[in-house]
């Protein structure tokens, strides 16, 4: 046993370790503290713990380092991605506060936070992995507990249905994924990413099948078409906080991991997966949009919107360059703020009134001007309207794809933004234009939710204008050496 490695592990696995520590702390608090204390402080403690983990460990720096013989890779960019995920998770936790502390849910409050942390841990593993086993474990850790979270609501609703749909799809796709890995293994004799890149015969049918199966497995998490069909049902039925979590954090992590796997593992044959992705991106963006335009349930609507957003995110993967990596992480960051702002509004209104239909939002501006504005900003940002952050992220991700020569693909994506603008505007229209005699009553959000929303809105407003964020990420991604 080589104990000298421990210091390295401590140094480079800090986010994972601290997150586990935080989870365990949370356990103990949940176990031993009095119910009244928990009611009052538990959510706060969870947020603070996560924030602390973030502050201590997720500051990108240092250099690229591999641990466990290449199983775990820590680069400044992965740390940055963890930072992004943490920020998103904190926002989700803030928004979840009022729901999870409600009478119906508070008995399961502890589990909610713990599972949240566990899945986050899984995502960490995914994005830092250098080996398919770790990757697979990370993937499963990030998805199985989520199935439990999706089925979180016990009273009424479609939560149970969503949970089942999510789980069965996840399990099926993980079986396919495993099949793909087994083929990979057959070709390379090792599941380390760099070994596969070295050994796998990339112009054989077996390689293609393996690649397709792997893409399918990760594409499921990303909800790329045609692996996306669970998305809408799960988003619609799941608790809003979990949906938000799924739509941004889980998706963001998967996107980054996907890029990571493709870069690391399949870099010798980029044409191959780029060809596949080319089609998938077009399908994803288009079908996502086509379905989104006819949705009335806002959560379902955001599900399809998030599908098409996943297509845009994939453009960064297509670019297959440091610029693409930067753009992707930046896009995810912006997407987190924008989408969480939308979910924040939906959650606040759903908690108070139980209404999630777009028609219920008619005339919202009359009674809830601030929420409407936040929602509008979110929609504009998602649609890529300047001066909101979404415009910048979209521009950069398109720029990265164009830089790699994908003009037609970008053109198709751009034309699709028109459709997406249409449905984002439908929401805006409902809130600002459509008349309504009895709009939703004025909703007061608590300070957690409000903080979450304010941060999101600030992010939407500032992230684009403040170029330092992109510049910083760009600097980091250059060190990765793609």
């Amino acid at each position: 046993m080589d104990f000298s490695q421990y210091s390295l592990i401590w140094e480079y696995m800090q986010p994972e370790l601290l997150l586990l520590v935080a989870t365990i702390l949370l356990f103990f608090v949940d176990l031993f503290a009095s119910p009244r204390f928990l009611d009052k402080w538990f959510s706060g403690i969870a947020c603070v713990l996560l924030a602390a983990v973030t502050a201590i460990s997720c500051i990108p720096g240092g250099e690229t380092h591999t641990l466990f013989g290449g199983m775990f890779i820590s680069t400044p960019m992965t740390t940055a991605m963890k930072l992004v995920l943490n920020i998103g998770t904190i926002l989700v936790l803030l928004q979840a506060h009022s729901w999870v502390n409600s009478e119906a849910c508070k008995v399961r409050r502890g589990e909610f936070y713990e599972l949240m942390f566990f899945t986050l841990f899984g995502m960490y593993l995914m994005i830092s992995s250098g080996h398919f086993l770790i990757f697979f474990i990370g993937l499963e850790t990030a998805s199985l507990p989520i199935a439990a979270l999706v089925a979180f609501n016990k009273q009424g609703g479609d939560s149970y249905e969503s949970g089942a749909k999510y789980l069965f799809n996840a399990v099926f796709s993980s079986a396919i994924f495993l099949m793909g890995i087994s083929f990979m293994y057959a070709m390379s004799g090792s599941l380390y990413f760099e070994d596969i890149a070295l050994n796998a015969a990339n112009n054989t049918a077996l390689f293609v099948v393996a690649l397709a199966f792997i893409i399918s497995g990760i594409g499921f998490k990303l909800s790329l078409v045609p692996f996306h069909l669970w998305t809408a049902d799960v988003y619609q039925g799941g608790p809003t906080a979990v949906t938000a979590y799924l739509s941004v954090i889980s998706k963001g992590a998967a996107a980054f991991a996907f890029l990571w796997v493709l870069f690391k593992t399949f870099s010798p044959s980029p044409e191959l997966w780029q060809g596949i992705l080319y089609v998938l991106i077009i399908l994803t963006i288009t079908l996502g949009n086509l379905f989104a335009i006819r949705q009335k349930d806002l959560k379902r609507f955001l599900a399809f919107s998030s599908i098409s957003q996943a297509g845009y995110i994939m453009l960064g993967v297509m670019a297959n360059s440091a610029q693409g990596l930067t753009a992707l992480v930046y896009y995810i960051l912006v997407y987190i703020f924008s989408n969480l702002a939308a979910f924040g509004v939906i959650a606040s209104i759903e908690n108070k009134t139980g209404k999630v239909s777009m028609d219920d939002y008619n005339g919202l501006y009359q009674t809830n001007p601030k929420l409407s504005l936040a929602m509008m900003l979110a929609m504009f940002s998602l649609a890529g309207i300047p001066p909101f952050a979404g415009f910048f992220s979209k521009f950069f991700i398109f720029a990265s794809a164009v830089n790699s020569g994908y003009y037609i693909l970008v053109l198709i994506a751009l034309l699709n933004t028109i459709i997406s603008l249409f449905y984002y505007l439908l929401v805006v229209k409902a809130m600002f234009i459509n008349p309504n005699d009895n709009p939703i009553e004025t909703v007061k959000t608590n300070c957690y939710g409000r903080t979450g929303l304010v941060i999101c809105v600030a992010g939407i407003l500032v992230l684009g204008i403040a170029s330092c964020v992109y510049g910083y990420l760009s600097g980091l991604s250059l060190t990765v050496g793609i």
């Binding site: 970008v410 603008l421 505007l425």
Partner: protein, 497 residues
Amino acid sequence: MNFLSLFVLIPILMMAGLAIARDMKQIRTVAVAFSTLQLGLAIYTVLKYLAERAAGNAEEMLFQASTMWYEPLNIHYAVGVDGISVTMLLLTAIIVFAGVFASWKIEPLSKEFFLWLTLLSIGVYGFFISIDLFTMFMFYEVALIPMYLLIGVWGSGKKNYSAMKLTLMLMGGSALLMLGILGIYYHSAPEGAPLTMNILEIAGNNAIPHDWQYFLFPLTFVGFGILGAMFPFHTWSPDGHASAPTAVSMLHAGVLMKLGGYGCFRVAIYLMPFAAQELSWIFLILTGISVVYGAFSACVQTDLKYINAYSSVSHCGLVLFAILMLNNTAMTGAVMQMLSHGLMTALFFALIGMIYGRTHTRDIREMGGLMQIMPFLSVCYVIAGLASLGLPGLSGFVAEMTIFVGSFQHTDMFHRVFTIVACCSIVITAVYILRVVGKLLYGAVQNEHHRELTDATWWERLSAVTLIVCVAAIGCFPGWISNLISNSLNAIVERLS
């Protein structure tokens, strides 16, 4: 800080001011104060520009300033103006000023209305001062989106449909544009040299390969052309204008559509002169059709705003048409036409709004004899009409003649024949303008209820008179503005030859 940035800063302050304003009176005060300030700034810019030029400053763009924004992509916040930009800035300031008065009594949500209007104007100002493609494009889109809410909330008629159509079509244009801009960016410098978004640097590098120009030129030209109401992408314009509230129609037809023309030559033609020459014939046909087609369509419309919208299609078509002639005179004419059309169409829409506000109909078949009821508005309408049909002494004539003479100087027979086709529009214009004037203003009063209507209020008068004075001023003394523009065009035209 460069004083050009004030063009963006003042509206931002204006938005802040509006946000804290409490009642209608304060809102108006803020709006008037800031738009006047902005107008002053625009005039100051023009004067300062002229002074600099007189002092012998021969730089292509004056008052340049550039701050690194996105370093990885070499994106700057870069500003600078030439004669064309200052003209457009002045136009914008005038129309915003007039627009504020035209929406004196906007209801409901007046504060929000002015906020959105101001955001729109930020986009427009920003667009005209930018010399960095990215910033330019960003401001361009900033200017587009407020339209949706402005029409959707404060519009009339089938406003939802129109607002959506307008927004989506324009976004379609900007989608093409974004790709075009990215394409330009990635070919902006020769191998090895750093890529750049700065228009002047791209033009200086002159590195866009010819086969890429073939691809990028149509993208950018159509992208901007959609906003410039180029046939067959003009259909957002009639519906959009018909549904929009007064000040929005003014600003949109008066300024926003000019973004299209301005962009067409600042980006498409200036940066890709080769393709501009090779491909101009295609767009010449399209814009030539626009000119005549818009005019013909206007002849049989019955809704005042539709007439005007189609007339805008025709006039803006002329702008693009002239730009494609690629010579100094025609392009000067194009810019003057932008200016002139901006002013007179804003005047038109202001007047239509005022009439509609009283009669609650825009159907010319339901009105008549307004001259007896509201003489002031009617006289203004006649003046606007005369400007539109190109009466000497008003701006339309100057612009159109410059375009025609310039276009006809083209050495190619094809271009000259098309110029003659475009000339024909002046007759058709006369037909539809006089038709409206005859039906709407003259004759007997159609609807007895209209007899009780009042003539213009002071703010309406102020709004209309401001515009009329400008229209007449340009029409009577076009020399200085023509020189201002044509001197700035020399650089562009040199690149074309």
